[in-house]
Amino acid sequence: MSDTADPTTDAAGDMVAAAAEMHGCPVSDSRGQVVIHPTRQQYVGVVKALADEGYAMCADLTAVDYLDYMRRPLPAGVTPERFEVVVNLLDITNRRRIRLRLQVPADDAVIATLFDVHPGSEAMEREVYDMFGIEFTDHPDPSRILMPEDWIGHPLRKDYEIGKIPVQFKGANS
C-alpha cells in the first residue's frame, strides 16, 4: 500500500513517456498501469509480438459490456464499441504487466482466439463467450463453461435482466 507497493508503476511511467504507441497501437496509462488498445486486426499479432518480448503468460482474459457507459475515456483514435475484451499479460522475467483493451462491436462480436499463442486462455475465452456472447474463431472448444450448455442468453451482458428470468434447469419439472 505504500509508494513502493507497485514496482510496475515507475516502469510504466517511463514506458508511456517513451512511446505513445506500441506495436502501432495507442498506449494509455491507467493508474500507473500500461494499457494498449489494438484493433481486432492487430490483436493476435500484437499478443504474439508481446510474447516474444517476454510477456509469456496470459494472466487474465475477460470482457466488459459497456452498453450503459459508452462515454468512457479512451485515447485518441480508439472508437468505443459496446464490448471490450481485456487481456492482462505478465512478463515474469522482467516482472512487468501489460493490459490490452480490445474494442468489439455488438453487431459483429467475433474475435480471434489466443489459444495458439497462450493455451491457458482457453477456459477464460470460454467464460467470456458464455458470459458475454463474444465468439472466438477457431477456439478448440466453443461451448459454454459455467452455465448449462442449453442456457439461453449471456448473463453478464448489461441488458440481461436480473431476477426476472425463471431459472432454467434441464429436465426438471417446474
Binding site: D6, P7, R97, S143
Partner: protein, 440 residues
Amino acid sequence: MTATIRDEGAQEMRGRSELTARELMREVGSVLRMSEAEVAKLGDMPDDPDEDQTMILNMGPQHPSTHGVLRLMLELKGETVLRCKPIIGYLHTGMEKTGEQLTFMQGGTNVTRMDYLSPFNNELVFSMATEQLLGIDGEIPERAVWMRMLLSELNRMSSHLLFMASNGMDLGAVSMMIYGWREREEVLRFFQKVTGLRMNHNFIRPGGVAADLPAGWRDDVLRLLDLIPERLDEYDILMTGQPIWRERLQGVGVITPDEALALGATGPILRSTGVAWDLRRDMPYLHYDQVEFDVIVGSYGDAFDRYAIRLNEIRESMKIVRQILDMMPIGDYRIQNKKVTPPPRARIDESMEALIHHFKIFTEGFKVPEGEVYVGIESPRGEVGCYIASDGSPTPYRMHVRAPSFVNVQCLPHMMRGGLVADAVAVISSVDPVLGEVDR
C-alpha cells in the same frame, strides 16, 4: 466459420470417433508448443486406440475426492488415462454479476465467498483495486497494512493446513484429515477472535480493516507459532518420509515449466516446476519487501513437489508472521478519509452531520472515480487478481476476479495424460482447486 462456432456443443468430452485428428493433436501440441506433426511423432501414448478398447468414465461432480463439485471425464484404456476433460460450473452463482449490484462498501462480502479457504486474500485484492481507483493506495495507515499482512499470512497457513488434511485423506492417510483440520481450527479460532467469524470475514475493507486487533492477540499468535511447528514435524514423520507416501506422489502428475507457463498456472503449481515466481517477492505489495522469507521451489513438477512446497510455505509464513509481530506499529487501523470511512460510533450520538454521513455511506456507498485497474496478489493457490472498471458511481461497473483455481484446473488434462486412474485423485488433490472460486 461462424456456423461451427455458433453450435454451442456439448460440454462433455466427445469420443475419439467424433474428433478430427487435428482436434486431438491440438489438445496436446499447443501446450507443449509443438506442431501437429511433432505431436504425431511423440508416440508416448497408445496411438489412436480403437474406440472399443477405450472407455469414457465420468468422475464427479459428486465424487468425494473432487473437492466439491468438479467433474472430470476421463478417457481410459485399461487403467491408463488417455484424455481428461474437467467440466465445471456446478457451483456457478453469478458472483461477478452480483458484484455489479453491490457498492464498493459491500463488495467485500461477495468476493470473500469466492475462494472460501483464503477469504482474506480475496478481500485484500478487492480492497487494493478499489483503493487504487480512489487513489488512496499510498495513504493506508501502517497498522492496517501490517494487519492485512498478518491476516493474509495466517490465512495462507490455514489454507495450506487444509490442503495437508485433504491431500492426506485423498491418498489414504485418513488420520491426516483430522490432524490438518485440528491445526486449521486453531488458526480459525484466532480469526474468529479478530473478525468475529471463522470464514467469510469481510474484515479487510477499502481504506483499511474493519476493527483493531483485540486485546491479547499477540499471545494468541505466539501460541499458534509455538504449536504449529511441532505439528508440522509430525506431518513429516507421518507423510513426508514415508515410502508409501512418496510412492504415491513422486513422479505423479508431472508438468514442465513451459507447460505451466503456457497454461497460465501460478502458485505452487508453477513453483513446483522450478520457476521461482511469487508475487510477494517479485511484485511486492503491502510491506512484503520489508520481510525476509524464501520462495520455495520444486524441481520435478510432480505432486510430491507441490505437497512439499505447501508444507514449507507454512513454515515460511510463520517466519513472516514472527517478523510482523516485531514490526506491528501502533496507530490507526483505517484511513481517516471521510469519503471511505464511516464516522466513529460515539460521534453519531452528538453530531447530526456524523449521523447523516453514516447513513449516506452505508446506504449509497462512496463514489469511485472513473477508470479501470487490475491488481494481482499471491493467494495460497496462485495469482488472484481483481479487475474493476468504474463509471464513477458507487458500484463497480464491472468487477472481475481472476481466480487462480479456475486457471489451474486447466492443468489437469496435462498432468493426468498417460497416468493411472488411481493417480487421478492424487493429481486433483495436488492442484488444490477451490470450486467456489473456479465457478464463482
